[in-house]
């Protein structure tokens, strides 16, 4: 602490003072204009609570939402990684049509607001897929099984499974465009000579990708990919629009029921921050260890 204070210049203190004064001003202004009855004491109950009916501790709405958010984010990022790699490779393909299709998909996603993309994917793609594959009746069957703990652990309430699937699909399709761009940049960063060398020793196109280009590219794209994963967690709040019961949706429910607008949203913001910031510290450390 002493060391830090000694390091600071008097100008630093001035800047710090200004920042504190600014927040103090905002806070006093707010308490003057904001007619609000803060009820922070109620919030912990909505995270973790002793159920008065079932007589046991259980995860209440906010924590339930957080768990769904984590689940959706993990599955969606795996799917986005797979699709993204395919897309990235397709973007560097020798075949013009493949390249054009990949480019069309990418430009379509990059130039339309996420909200619209989510609706398009939801109604025209995820829904059709769920109907075609009969996922709904299947998940109801699983929900009725006695031994479905494994399913419940990975997918939550099986009755909600179709909405989980559509959430994952929609989010993964949306993020895959950006993952694809990262992969493409990684592939193109590999020196041309490497690829030519691979071809000259008789490797096929696939072998060249598999053994020469992708292993080197993967190392380069890890940091931006980790970053994209964190973005995906934040973006997952968008799928509350299609009524997937994740953290943002659950918060809205809580606000509707109790009118605790600010407490609920600030708590939710804190959840997102803790997860995303925690992950970015973790990825940073992993990256440094690797070097």
């Amino acid at each position: 602490m002493q060391k830090i204070i000694k390091k600071l210049h008097w100008l630093d203190f001035l800047v710090l003072g200004c920042v504190i004064a600014f927040f103090y001003y905002v806070l006093t202004q707010m308490s003057g204009n904001l007619n609000y009855n803060w009820r922070w004491d109620k919030i912990p109950n909505y995270i973790f609570k002793y159920h008065t009916g079932r007589e046991e501790w259980f995860a209440n709405v906010l924590l339930q939402g957080l768990i769904v958010t984590i689940r959706v984010s993990i599955y969606a990022s795996i799917l986005a990684l797979v699709l993204g790699v395919i897309l990235g490779v397709a973007r560097c393909s020798h075949n013009l049509i493949v390249r054009m299709l990949a480019r069309t998909y990418l430009e379509f996603l990059r130039n339309i607001p996420p909200l619209v993309v989510i609706f398009i994917f939801y109604f025209f793609l995820a829904e059709q897929l769920i109907q075609a594959m009969n996922i709904e009746s299947w998940s109801y069957k699983v929900a009725k099984l006695e031994n479905n703990q494994i399913w419940e652990f990975f997918c939550g309430d099986m009755r909600r499974f179709p909405s989980l699937v559509s959430g994952v699909i929609v989010l993964a399709l949306f993020e895959s465009a950006f993952v694809g761009e990262i992969v493409r940049a990684g592939i193109q960063s590999i020196d041309r000579g490497q690829r030519e060398a691979a071809r000259s020793i008789g490797m096929t196109q696939f072998q060249e990708m598999r053994y020469i280009v992708l292993p080197q590219a993967m190392r380069k794209i890890m940091p931006p990919m980790a970053n994209q994963f964190i973005t995906l967690i934040k973006d997952s709040s968008i799928i509350s629009l299609i009524s997937v019961q994740e953290l943002t949706y659950k918060t809205q429910e809580l606000v509707s029921s109790t009118h605790m607008i600010f407490e609920a949203w600030l708590t939710t913001a804190m959840f997102y921050f803790v997860i995303c910031f925690g992950l970015s510290l973790l990825f940073g450390k992993l990256e440094r260890d690797k070097r």
């Binding site: 008065t52 209440n60 009746s137 606000v255 509707s256 029921s257 009118h259």
Partner: protein
Amino acid sequence: MNITRRLIGGVFAAALASISFSQVTFAGTAQQLGAESVIETIKKRGVIKIGLDLFVPWSMRDTNGDLVGFEPDVGRKLAADMGVEVEFIPTKWAGIIPALVAGKFDVIISGMTVTPQRNLTVNFSEPYAFSGLTILANTAMTEGMTLEDYNSEDITFTCRRGATPCVFIQNKFPKAELLMFDEDGASTQEVLNGNAHATMASEPGPSQDARRNPETLNVPFDQAFDAGGEGFAMRKSDPDALAYFNSWIRRHNHTGWLKTTHNYWFRGDAWHDQVE
């Protein structure tokens, strides 16, 4: 060479698009052709799926995170009478009708007011509840105003997007400015903060908010507007479902169950400590 390649690519893309489109329309006609009543589907599945959104006290989360309120009671009773299990599917209000049409659930029981516009897209049962809209106003900003005074450029209203009050305010107070929010908490908060003069919602919401903030808010007029009645909403072209739900509502109007339950949630305050 290049041009032919591009042409082939274009044809290929067009073919792909037409295939995916034809499948979409095919799914639509298949649904129409298999015009099996949703009642049969519910019996076969053993579960009735009810779409709802949270409005106090129609339906809300209690402190245990469970759904309570008038609608969950109605839904559970309906399911018990049908001999099936009940499943509630919370859905955003703005997208609840498209979700019903897309088949996400069998029926909407969520205090949905019967309006001619909505009726173009879905069918409604007979009303099972009647709740009028009232005005919730910021006391200091609207002191001594008559109902006519609210129809002026200086007045700002708030409402919940997609809900009946929005349409009502636009018709009744066309000159006033209207701000729309995604849920009731935010629209009430704007009135509390003095950024809007008044909001409208169905009773007892406004009275409750006025009781909670007696210095700032009040319900200036006893009159309740637009008591059109709320009905179950279901997909069109399903006369069996319409008949079944209508008979169910008629029956429980006779037994008095609907009235008692309605009074418990809308007139009394006995449930209040369950929720907050």
